[in-house]
Symmetry: C2
Subunit: 234 residues, 2 copies
C-alpha cells in the first residue's frame, strides 16, 4: 500500500527542509568542536537509563549536555538531570520524531559553543526518526534483549540509517532466553559490518568499551580537540 | 513545534479518507457478526506472542483469523500460523501504521463472512497507529513490564484511543522491579477507568480473565451470535 501521491510530495518537501536545517546544525557543531550523538529506539528500550549512565561517566571530564524528545512530559529531562549535566526536554505533541528545527530551537540561549559532547535522545519510535537528519555525527539504535531478536529484520530502515547498535538490558538476557547470535545475524543481514555493543544500564556492563569507542570516534571527527582521550584519564 | 500547515492539511484529508474506509469496514464486520480486535504497542512489547496464545485458545471453538502488520518480513504471520488459524501478513514498507484500506485489501478473497473473531496486529509503534481507525470493535494497547511505568504519560494519545491496556511479560516483573501500582496510576491519570489486564504469553498468566472479558464484549456487540460463551465451554 503506497501513500497518496500528494502526501508523498509534501513529505519530500518537509524532508528537504529538514536536510537544510540539519546541514546548518552540523556545520555549527563542527565549528564548535561539539561531537553529537543521537539515540533512537522503540519506547522502553532503555535510552534514558543508558544515557543517564553515560552522562554521569562523562560529567566532570567533559562539557556535556543532552536534549531529550518525548510527545509529552519532562520525565526524561528530570531523570537525566540527576547526572548533573544541562538537559533540555523537547515535547513534540503528536509528532513521532525530532526534527532538525526542533533541535535548533532547543539550543537557543544554550552555551553550546563550549560543548565537547551533545546527546540527543529521540522520541521512542523505530520508524519515523529514520528519515530525519538531526545534524548528528553518530546515530545509535538501541534494542533491548526483551524485544525479540528479529527486530532489525522488521525495522530495516532505522538500522540502515543508524551507525551503531546497542543491545540493552543484557542483564535480562538469561531471563528472556536471549539469543545473541540470532540478533547479531539479524543486524548483519540488514546492515553488514554494523558495530554492536551489548550493554546494561543496570549493571554498567559494556560501559568501558562503549566509552572507548565513543572517544575514538570523537577524536577522529574533532582532531583539534584539546581534551585528552577518555581512556587516558579513567 | 507544530507541523507545516500544508502537511497538516494533507494529513487531515488522509485521515478523513481513512475514517470513511473504516466506517465501511465496521458495517461489514457487524453485518457478518465478526468481532474485531486490534493490537497496538511499541515494537517488542509482545503483541505476537500474546496473540499466538489467544488464537490457539480460541481455535476450534470459534472461527478466528488474524491480520498482522509490519514494515518488512512475514515473520509474524509465520509465527501466528502455528496457532492453525488463517493469518495474513500486511507489509507496509515505510508506513508506520496500518490503515483501513490496507485491511480491506488484505481481506479480499478471504472467507471473512463466517468469522467470529478477527484480530489485527498493528505495526509496532506507540504514536502513528493512534490516528487510524481500522473498523475494530476493541483496541488493545499492550505495554510490557520492561518498558517503564511512565509510558502512558509519555504516549497519552495511544492510550486515549485504546479501549483496554494489557501489561505484558508479567513473568519478568520481579527481574525488572516492576512497580504495578505506578503503572496503574499512570494509566489512570491518562485514561481514567481504563480496564487493565496483567498477562504473560510465556506462562499463560492472565489468560482466563482476559478470555472471559473478550467473550463478554463480543456478546454485547454481537448479541445474535449463535456460539455459546467461551466460559461455558472451557
Amino acid at each position: 500500500m503506497s501513500e497518496p501521491p500528494r502526501l508523498v510530495q509534501v513529505r519530500q518537501r518537509v524532508l528537504k527542509e529538514n536536510d537544510v536545517a540539519a546541514r546548518a546544525l552540523r556545520t555549527r557543531f563542527h565549528e564548535a568542536g561539539t561531537y553529537v550523538v543521537s539515540l533512537v529506539s522503540s519506547p522502553g528500550a532503555g535510552k534514558t537509563a543508558w544515557l543517564e549512565r553515560v552522562l554521569t561517566a562523562l560529567h566532570g571530564r567533559y562539557h556535556v549536555a543532552a536534549l531529550v524528545g518525548d510527545l509529552a512530559t519532562d520525565n526524561d529531562a528530570v531523570r537525566l538531570a540527576r547526572s548533573r549535566v544541562p538537559v533540555k526536554q523537547i515535547t513534540t505533541g503528536t509528532v513521532c520524531h525530532l526534527e532538525a528545527a526542533m533541535v535548533a530551537t532547543a539550543l537557543e540561549g544554550w552555551p553550546s559553543k563550549s560543548l565537547d559532547y551533545l546527546f540527543i535522545e529521540n522520541v521512542g519510535n523505530l520508524v519515523c526518526p529514520s528519515s530525519f537528519d538531526l545534524g548528528e555525527d553518530l546515530r545509535l539504535v538501541l534494542l533491548s534483549v526483551t524485544e525479540g531478536e528479529d527486530k532489525p529484520l522488521k525495522y530495516p530502515t532505522i538500522f540502515n540509517t543508524a551507525d551503531v547498535a546497542l543491545v540493552t538490558k543484557i542483564d535480562l538476557a538469561e531471563a528472556v532466553e536471549f539469543d545473541a547470535e540470532a540478533m547479531r545475524r539479524a543486524i548483519e543481514s540488514v546492515r553488514p559490518g554494523m558495530e554492536v555493543f551489548e550493554v546494561s544500564a543496570k549493571t554498567g556492563a559494556g560501559m568501558e568499551p562503549w566509552l572507548r569507542f565513543l572517544e575514538a570516534r570523537r577524536l577522529a571527527a574533532c582532531p583539534t580537540s584539546s581534551v585528552p582521550p577518555f581512556a587516558a584519564r579513567i
